[in-house]
Amino acid sequence: MAKERIKKDVVIIGAGMAGLTAALYAGRMNLSVLVLESAIVGGQIANATGIENYPGLPNVSGKDLIAALQSQAENFGAVVDEFDEIQRVSLKEDPKIVETEEHIYEAETVIIATGMERRKLPLQEEAKYAGKGVHYCELCDGHLYQGKTIAVMGGGNAAVDAANFLTKYADKLYLIHRSKLRADEASQQKLRENPKASIMLETEIKALKGSSKLETVEILDKSTGKTETLAVDGIFVNIGVAPHTELFKDEVELASDGRIIAGEDCKTKLPGVFVAGDVREKEIRQLTTAAADGTTAAILAEKYISNKKRGKILW
């Protein structure tokens, strides 16, 4: 059966902070808006346990913040579809084509807000222990380590916040990081004051060992060059993120790190195609800047559509 073709003013790819903010703004401007998400609505912050730096909200979980934002966008007519996966995009055409498993969307504008995904642990044994001691989701798997010993790998905000959260379950937690911590001072302080936590800097995990489940990790102390074996029941990997841009690599210009190149106006080189949030090449990537990008992209998308209707394609 032929797929149904549906016209949309704005198709937003990705339902994280940037995508949902764009959906809210575009919906309020009476545009027809579709948001497509193949993974988790909320993206990276869906896993955040306590966000303390979103203006006006002293402490909010990622889940609650995103649920409120999704509902706010849907109240203005935006539709969020998290089950109809994208198969291909063609952004150089007019209208732009976004083909999913079930539909062909013809869009006046496309806002790419696909965000980032966690990097996998770059060790050969990762596949053997994935889900059997090596984890990437604290909220999903933290409960498995009640009263046990675990390690968190990484030194950014996500890693330190994950470590703070996991001490709720674990009796002993090691934070292992190859250099200095990059997390906010407030989060670092909280972890330093936690009697269950030990922070190991200038260290790297070089090998994973265990029979059917992870039992020990080999740690290299970079300052001394010595290796030691640490008994752990599990590790949670938080060693950074990689941009989700595979779908667009032949369509838009990518930076060397894989992010999409666009200015502060979120415009790519393709008329009608915007990029918003962490997937845009920029220095500062925060929830607030993702929301700002979503706002900018939606307002300029409306302007583009409005000019186009009057016969002017301004880009």
Partner: protein, 76 residues
């Protein structure tokens, strides 16, 4: 009755539940963090401790959100 072994905090569990709802599938939710019997049953079924797990007959199951496999398991 379809069973979903899940956790309150797990985003992929939410996604599985939303998917089943979108397809009109009625299910029984079993929280493995608060229900010890459910935890043991889930572990016995999969030999693992991860969720979400969807099963209809307590023999065949799908671990994680895999739309194609869930469709096949439940005949959707």
């Amino acid at each position: 009755m379809v069973k979903v072994y899940s956790l309150t905090t797990c985003p992929w569990c939410d996604k599985v539940k939303k998917y089943l709802k979108s397809k009109g599938v009625e299910y029984q939710e079993l929280n493995i963090e608060t229900d010890d019997e459910a935890f043991k049953a889930c572990q016995a079924l999969t030999g693992d401790e991860a969720v979400p797990v969807v099963t209809k007959d307590d023999k065949n199951y799908v671990l994680g959100f895999d739309k194609a496999k869930i469709d096949e398991l439940l005949g959707l």
